[in-house]
Subunit: 366 residues, 4 copies
């Protein structure tokens, strides 16, 4: 099994290691004729760039995208769009020590067991840098989704115990606060917590929420390719995510049916739901309400304080991980979650076109 | 996109509606030479049968499996194993009314929007009966996994507010309590809650936990085909599941790195971890510890009490759903979660064999 | 790798052995809302039935299709369509001897080497009966294609040295001649040849041609999913096919570019080609001309005359294969080739809808 | 449908246009631990380079491969291997005229119909340059296959009417003759023919044969993923190929069963076949004999002489194609056919490991 490709009608294949020559993605099956500039991609990549605030690592990563194929005279051509970012600022020396032992919370041990050895420079293939390809692909999808009137946006819901107040939701703040929180007050509290983590040579987790507006009912396939199942897989495939929920999610397990069921109502010439416990998905298909998905992100495993572990000679040792690490990965992962959701949704929107025989017959009548 | 097939090296394709002639599954790519009897499958199907206790619907569903292909002289042949269960006890009359309106919490509205109409007899393709095929396939996988020394078992962790006490964990109770709880005391409390729901014409949700022992480190692919990502997709594809978590899951979002990281230790001639917050998965690969996954299940949407909704003429109406429904689907869904986890794991175990070039070279040297 | 499933937007998964309980197919992703009766399927299955003429085996195979799911009130529902044919007339006794040796021209030896043993009753999974599932699926596709104004039809081009005369092409004869030749004179000569084969306890090969009319230009994907590549795979996956060609095919290898190139011409308000050496496919995409594909079919390997071979004890032996075998498989394989072409084309027609971004945007604007 | 990715256990995804910035391939799922240098890849790419003889275009294409990921300390790591070749010598000016009309024998018209427009610089995605990615991937596969004792080699069987004499087969000549013919006499005659084509401003077709030695019996899956079916698809997906045959191929259609059947024989302690009409494949699985596949290649459609066609304003015009074109593509396509066969075989060899339950159980017992 290959495992670096996702999707059916559109596929994304990411490649590259944190300290190799470059990282990238091939997006295949993307429809032709969409206006696309390098800037459309770069602005999304910039959202995952570190070094922009004290919430993130001080490493500089320019991450300038290079589009190698699939665009001609400013439009997508329908052929594979190959995008690449060169690794320029990676300091392999920081990592040379890692080769000899297994970092707690990292996949070092798993790689050695699976492949017999590993690229020990940074996270190798498990590095957060792998998500560059995902975000570049997500940027493409976002461009097309916005033309369809569909709005996919993610933000930081909480960091540690600090959660946003939905009453104070300010969408613009997502793109201006260092934490990507849509609530400037919560952002300040979260930054205090992050600074404390940094002082304590520690790290902290958090929750990312993604919302999708404008999706018609019926998107997603009834059994294994349920919209929620594919969203869960896509989001859980992001390194640090340990739980995924839809709508009221984990809370549904404690509710009564009479509380959890969303009643349908006809008003303003359309069918809608009075509540949205379903998170916009019923039976694996969109129900016309806003789609709500949450990703629970673990704290950065690379922490500066002393930890016990095992080395490759099977000795129990104590280590201090060097390097410049994010005390929290949540703010940088926001655009990754958004990208995975945008891609998954677009792929299912395309597949839905062939749900009815009449759609196909009508298309070819034109 | 098709959506009724799952897997890569082994694939399962389920088919059938709740009130059609039959339901079934085709398991393709299943390896040859495994001893297999009808009873190996039937005993798993019996675990999802209703009517065995007051916790479930009083409908009788015999669900006797018929193996149509892929077995010869008591062994799997390597060709597709087609298994079918006939629908014998379905009372379509209970459902005739449903045709005209959209049941809250169900996919009726989504089906109509997607396909233009729907098979309104029961849940159609979204019925819990679709899981018959999943469980039959899971039974096959469990047979092979047990030969490999791998133990996959699920149970009810909680129903509503009633949770099992890990100190009182009794594995055998999973198969004897009406709730599939491995704790007879919790089971009694949960049954009280369920009875109350039934009286109140209501339903309740719960949590299913699945544990996997004996998996070597390195299973799962580093990027999109992460073990946890594919488990999440498979489990979230079960109708009523609204959240999936691995290891400490949602709790990880509030932990510090120093708390969440599991330290490695070498003892008794092997590498292991002191704690298991990771739930046995790091970087998308098994880390050698027990794998722990939890599914959060919503309450049964079919409840007897009066609910508001919309009919196909866009009128706001009040309905009372007839029929014999489970006040809680959790106990019957336990074996479905187990099946999805067993299948997903086996598929990745197979793909892992080709992780090293030397494995392939050595295999063909033989 | 599984290997019994084909397709992307629509998938077909066949299952069953020649002498098992039943054979069938699951068609997933087939669009909803198409009128469909059992008769729509049965009439295609009847075209591959043996025993209808002296050209085929005297075995009786009723092959009555049973539709188990995916149809509701006479229409496809968009969910998997499961179709099954029971094995009623199989005489396993004819085959008991086969278990001990390897029939020349058959896959017996390959099965034993691959799986360690085999279902030795008839061809098992390699039996021509496996194609029942393909034809049932093809019938479905033909129904939808005909609604789209696309005409897919195959016929016998030649048997041994007897070839049809294109000047005498009579489409109706395909369905009335015992050889499925669209030329009653050639049919008579071919029948003479077949009778001679039967007398000589021998068999003979032939060529099947499939033509497709009404396909718009641009169907097929430019690289690996070329229309011709997928047709070649689908047709070559039929047991006895040893070569596949498109348009002038093998002859192209001896032509000059100035001979082989088809000039474009604008007349009658549309672009067409003056000649059709391309067989309707350029660069892997339909070019608007008639699509022409030919399958070269080997002679039936089961012949009554004495043959040398090896048994499972590694002894060189001489055998006489018993049973009732077709002296030529070509006439019965015609509808199988047609089915594989119809399916492959329909799957690509669906995928082509998302070739342009504007198609997707316009679809969701509706 | 995406269409630029091929394979299951190992996948190759090519990207790039003839006159874009670069072309490349991502090989995912390639096993870890294989020694690999840039030179291992480059030597295969050099075989498809033009400008090395008067048989090919005078264009210089350096085609130096750059390995961007998946190799660490000289070994494959098990992660995606991304390889790229920059486009340096492309003269877009030669092609500017093409934008306005449809070249006979090319896919220009199909691209316009499918996508609404096209990258008119050279062949765009349909250019022979797309095969650079295929050959780079094939080189990887050849390295691993050779470690397994499997020998995959292709050569020119014929050009126009000039065919090699099997009696004079000289393997080394494949790599030294300008035509890639393994027969220096035939090579000379073929070169004469090619020179005449060049003088006549014409082009010519030919046949490429690929042979595979050392494949154990049982490789390939019995139904849709037959070894011959997947080889046919892979080889037919090469731009200029119009027919594919296995073993005696098209000739089988005129043979009697008694002629075509290969008898099995036990000698020298193993089972083999007296003849090889099957081309090493029975029932879609390797039968232990040498595998023989032939690709029939059409003449280069770009010819210098005057041709009639249609322009985008629907005018019937006469054109003369400029640029430096190969009078025959066969010699350069040899390594492409070889690459597609090597890749397809390796992918099936891997999948075959899980054919027996005992293989899986034994692997994990280790």
């Amino acid at each position: 099994m290959s495992g670096s490709t996702l999707g059916k009608n559109i596929t994304i294949s990411t490649w590259g290691e944190s300290h190799g020559e470059a990282l990238g993605v091939v997006v295949d099956g993307f429809p032709a004729g969409l206006d696309l500039t390098k800037e459309d991609i770069q602005k999304f990549l910039d959202r995952r760039k570190p070094g922009t605030s004290s919430a993130t690592t001080s490493r500089k990563e320019d991450d300038e995208v290079c589009i190698l194929s699939g665009i001609f005279e400013g439009k997508t051509t329908g052929t594979p769009i190959s995008m690449m970012v060169k690794n320029t600022s990676q300091r392999s020396s920081d990592y040379s020590e890692i080769a000899s032992y297994y970092r707690p919370g990292h996949a070092d041990y798993c790689f050695d067991e699976k492949y017999g050895f590993r690229d020990y420079r940074g996270g190798g293939r498990s590095s957060g840098r792998e998500t560059i390809g995902r975000v570049a692909a997500g940027a493409l999808c976002q461009k097309l989704l916005s033309e369809m009137g569909i709005d996919v946006y993610a933000y930081t819901r909480s960091i540690g115990d600090v959660e946003i107040d939905d009453e104070k939701f300010d969408r613009n703040a997502i793109y201006t606060t260092p934490t990507s929180m849509p609530d400037t007050e919560a952002d300040k509290k979260a930054m205090d917590l992050i600074m404390k983590c940094r002082e304590n040579m520690d790290s902290i987790g958090g929750v990312i929420e993604c919302r999708i507006k404008g999706v018609p009912a019926g998107i997603g396939e009834p059994v294994f390719d349920k919209l929620d199942a594919l969203l869960a897989r896509a989001v859980m495939s992001i390194g640090a995510v340990k739980a995924v929920e839809i709508g009221c999610g984990t809370k549904a397990a404690k509710l009564y049916g009479s509380e959890n069921n969303d009643e349908f109502i006809y008003e303003n010439n359309s069918v809608s739901k009075k509540t949205n416990n379903s998170g916009g998905i019923l039976g694996g298909m969109s129900d016309g309400s806003e789609i709500v998905i949450r990703a629970y992100v673990k704290p950065t495993p690379s922490i500066a304080r002393s930890q016990n572990t095992v080395n490759k000679s099977n000795e129990n040792i104590s280590i201090n991980i060097k390097g410049r690490h994010d005390p929290v990965v949540v703010p940088r992962a926001v655009v990754v979650v958004e990208s995975m959701c945008a891609f998954t949704l677009l792929d299912l929107l395309i597949s839905n076109i062939s749900a009815k025989a009449s759609n196909i017959i009508n298309f070819y009548k034109k």
